[in-house]
Subunit: 292 residues, 2 copies
């Protein structure tokens, strides 16, 4: 796996945590809205997406700090999507990262509103970058397309509509490329945009992130089967209870393993030509082999 970037990862995480913790700190509190937003936003996620934004900015020749508002915007989108996905009308999950889900703590109405507010705040975050206005507009475009009806929300709609019946491989690929892949891809692209990268760089970064995102989701489906409830912090096999189709139901565990390896290799190859892709290579391997 080459060099160990654990320390760099922790430093980036700390930078993101600090930025997210400050985002709503000076805002007037309206009922328990801001508290509900921060409950989920500051619940110790791994911050894969924002770190991908920061390090892709560096990869494309930019400085990490300039990409921080973009990184936090992506994480706000990710957080809102988890809050809404957990709602009773959606996946009806009671646990997330080992803690009660947002609507269990604050009620359904507050959880819907906390999600709405985080989604809105993501776009405000983008405008806080100290970058040329043209890059910020590109970022708004990229993130809104990835997160909206032609991207992440579209994937969630397919997911809800597909419950209770078996999806074939193609349907599953589309669903996951939208639901999970689009935002991971946007996270990397935003880093490239922040750095003022070339169109060629953006294309390479996209290819890397798309492969990474697919591998991530396949691995996630595998972990849902092989992990125990304590390790994962959410109900084991909850996807199976809801009769959801997953890559494991489509390919089996061994087939999934092989696919994750292949995708990881493809993702790494897409970065050929970059001066220093060592972190991205390490991250791809880390995600492919993660235990929880």
């Amino acid at each position: 796996m080459g060099k160990d970037f654990t320390v760099l990862m922790a430093r980036n995480q700390a930078m993101v945590e600090d930025c997210l913790a400050r985002a709503f700190a000076s805002e007037p509190r309206h009922a328990d809205l801001q508290e509900a937003m921060e409950y989920s936003l500051l619940s110790g996620g791994k911050r894969i997406r924002p770190i991908l934004t920061l390090e892709t900015c560096r990869l494309c020749g930019g400085s990490i700090l300039e990409a921080l508002p973009f990184a936090c915007g992506v994480e706000m989108i990710h957080t809102y999507s988890l809050i809404h996905d957990d709602l009773p009308a959606m996946d009806d999950d009671k646990l997330r990262r080992g803690r009660p889900t947002n609507h269990i703590v604050y009620g359904e109405a507050a959880a819907i509103l906390a999600g709405d507010a985080l989604l809105t705040a993501a776009f405000e975050q983008l405008t806080k970058a100290e970058l040329p206005a043209g890059r910020i507009v590109q970022a708004v475009q990229c993130l809104s397309q990835a997160a909206g009806s032609a991207g992440m929300v579209g994937g969630q709609a397919l997911d809800m509509a597909g419950e209770g019946r078996a999806l074939d491989r193609e349907e599953l690929e589309l669903l996951q490329s939208l639901k999970t892949g689009a935002l991971i891809t946007a996270a990397a692209e935003l880093g490239c945009i922040a750095a003022g990268g070339t169109q060629e760089q953006r294309t390479q970064v996209r290819a890397y992130a798309q492969a990474l995102g697919r591998a991530f989701q396949v691995r996630d489906d595998m972990l849902d089967i092989i992990s125990s409830q304590e390790e994962l912090g959410k109900t084991v096999g909850s996807d199976r209870v809801n009769e959801k189709s997953t890559f494991v139901t489509a390919l089996g565990l061994d087939g999934c393993s092989a696919l994750v390896e292949k995708l990881t290799r493809q993702g790494i190859e897409a970065l050929n030509g970059f001066e220093d892709p060592a972190f991205h290579i390490w991250l791809a391997n880390l995600l492919a082999q993660r235990k929880k």
Copy 2:
């Protein structure tokens, strides 16, 4: 009331309808997501907010067409907020503009997702304006602040938290300035931003729209009492059933009438110095006297 702008209003409405109808037309359909979005987006609202954006752009010296993407972005935010406000966990409304609400037709999950997607699409819309990037960034900033936790969503959170107890006048003013006022104000400001207006123009336009928004809400509370169910297309007195505090419970009908008149006068006075505020004066009077 001076000149009658009904024809101009209809022309603006048609322009907005056309733009909204095209927004998702060429997008791949994912389950019934796009259908659910368009069900609410194209349900024949009065389009007050986008028209305010267009005409304020003209008022500040810009050309209406340039502001059209901003106008449609505002209307998408407004529409998403109605879909989410109507949800069972929120106001639990079954009728809106005389038709079944989104979640009654498409189910709760689809309605949540349709709202999320419209909220996201609003920001994509802003980037479609053929304007200098700096103005688009200002628009994203203005709209996200007005629509988020420090604005509209904050107001809805106060509204939900205030149900079942009497709010005093000050609480009610804050709640409504956030829940309704912030987006109406942003609608006008976005017109000024599109036109590249001066800071002074923006301040005047803000003051006009804030007064208009307050008058609008007071009048709305009055209509909730005096209209019949057929006229309004929603359950009469539904705010009363939910034991919500309104301006009528705080001031009585006569007190509300006087307040609407005063606010309308103040709003119109705020536009002193503009070359041709005739439309804005007409609109303020129209809204103050509207029957439904």
